[in-house]
Amino acid sequence: MNLDAAVETYRVESLELLDVMEQSLIALEHDTANPELINAIFRTAHTIKGTGGVFGFDPIVGFTHQVESLLDRIRQDQLSADSGLIGLLLDCADHIRNLLEPVIAGHPLSGALTGTGQTLQAALARYIEAPIAATATRSGDDHAAGADTPAWHLSLRFDPAILQRGLDPVSLFNYLNGMGTIVRLVPLLDQAPPLAALDPERCFLGFELSYRTDAPREAIESAFEFFREDGTLQLVAPGSPLSDYARLLQTLAESTGQAGELLLRTGTLTPAELERILTREDTPVAAAIPPPPAVTQTRAAAGQAAPSPGHKAADRHFIRIDSDRLQLLINLVGELVIAGANTHLLARQARAAPVVESAANLIRLIEEVRNIALGLQMVQIGSTFQRFQRVVHDVSRELGKEIELHISGGDTELDKSVVEQIGDPLMHLVRNAMDHGIEPVAERLALGKSRHGTVSLNACHDSGSIVLEVSDDGYGLNRDKILARAVEKGIRPAEAVLSNADIYALIFEPGFSTADQISSLSGRGVGLDVVKRNVEALRGEIQVESEPGHGTLIRIRLPLTLAIIDGFLVRVGNERYVIPMDMLVECLEYDGQTRQQSTRQGYLDVRGEVLPVIRLADLFSVRSTRTERRENIAVVRYGHQRAGLIVDELLGEFQTVIKPLGALFSRLATLSGSTILGSGEVALILDIPGLIHHVMTRELS
């Protein structure tokens, strides 16, 4: 039996459960008595332990068992979840996380890991008082019986309601036959009502059987495990003294004579033996023997208080797919889009109306498939954000500040690869906000601010970009201090005149740090410039807003880096270019006079607003083949900035697959990729942010 796939599922599942545990623990800190949360935490430990045991991952099971015991005490209100306890449980969650890999791989645990485990267990034990013994494992070994073994005698009586409880005596006999041989079976029919009055849903049968097996008494009794509370079993071992049989006869419901008859029929007793028992019936020997070891057990009374299970996100109906396979699908869909466009083009050229119609239909379907395929790659940013709860919790403790994390827009979807790469930069910004942004409690109170500092994470969509914001309600940036520092470090000359935004942006320059004290968190020189680099690697940009005394907001704007985009095709000379559709604002036509003006000044007056323009033919050194006097301008926007691109011809909307440019062109600021048109020609995709940046720098110089 190959368990590899199941083990992998267990690993992923456990990591997810640990995330849930962590988030719930942090939520518990603010809401210490919430039974839903406590239950949710309990269930995560419970599942990790329960399933881990199935795989035989003993170190995980043993440790998690301790955690579970502690959680159980919290659940039963024997302990209250104070912050010390929550801290301990968070450490335990980390430890379980660390145990997973080596235990699953079957490696011996490192000394450090074992040490941590022992320390934590000792800490747990202080809460649990007495450590609880390791989980018992139960086994149900099967035994086959030799033919010549002497037979046991089993006497069975059932509760009439057992059938309704899903128990069928036949299954019991089947099972017994699996570990021995039922030599004889005598049913007791006298309890059954006449057929007309018979309720077929009730069981009126009792059985006497003689059973041959090598299995020990416990194994036979275990066969009746599920019947215990709905019937009685009496077992008499082979070769028992006659007094045992005598006692059996006494306890059976039937009169001793009838019961004796039954034992004769099963072959358990010979007539002579029965005779001897019956004659000794009144002797005190039998009475002196302790009561028979009936399997029937009394149930201990216990409270019915059962906590209602917490609700976990209903995310159970998902299928896990290897991301490589997904990537393959998306690539193929991309090819399909191109092939579809090609078919459509050929059909139009052939002027075959039915084929054109059919091709149009095909393209519509491909578009749908494309949208779905791309949607598969999108994940919500929420889980990434949630992870910061833990960071904020730990770091605020470390810093001795009181900080809360507010999360909004967690359901904003973005490309999985972007989510993966944006985690670290966000972490840096959050830590930075906590370390340098938020004031210590005393200072906050002196300033008349609330005791708790707040760090907020927000995500939203904005005109084809994803916007992620990290903000705090702390000091705010000190304009003069930053400027002084920049001059001191030689990042900017002293005489430079800079806007506030420009000054704030300086904090992302390499080698910039104004922290007076170097703390363990940030200020180690590997500063915010790393964040900037990471964001730029994703073709994103950073903006900073700040108000002294009220806090700072850092906004990261990222493109929806997808394999396929909706584009707008334009022509310049013999070249074709694609403008990403979500950055296109409008298309304008201008006459020749304006053209002269625009060429001279580099900007146009559009409805009273200044619009900088770029002549793509000049930029890319392409010979313009414009025939008309009028000039076509595509107005694009990125963030708050707009620009006009002067082109020869507007060719219309076009769906396209982004093919990255080779590494050789990676420094090219104005182009972001290429694509193949339906006709087989190559078109270049314009990098609008790069172009706008180009316009802006030209304007400044």
């Binding site: 599942e13 989980t135 059962a306």
Partner: protein
Amino acid sequence: MVKTILIIDDSASLRQVVKLTLTSAGYEVIEACDGMDALQKLDGTKIHLIICDVNMPNMDGITFVKRVKTLPNYKFTPIIMLTTESQESKKQEGQAAGARAWVVKPFKPETMLNAVSKLILP
């Protein structure tokens, strides 16, 4: 006829192990991730045995057992509940609801197979 078993647990990996164990013993296994999901799968299909976790989101095992006992097609279907040592009160609730068979988590695959074979043979 192959006997069909419904396994209900919120842990996908646990379901996988149980499924592997039981299918290699000759049973057919259907999975459900919680009580609610399981009820939807009780659509008239012949199910010979139900294995059900107690502690699950959406609909817990006890509620599920109570509901099953009201379904004409399934009220006699034997139910094995999965529990832990610390859940004695749950066990009693489950018994009151009509489940009689128990397997204690964590269990070995053989233990599960053994418990199942006490109720139905493949």
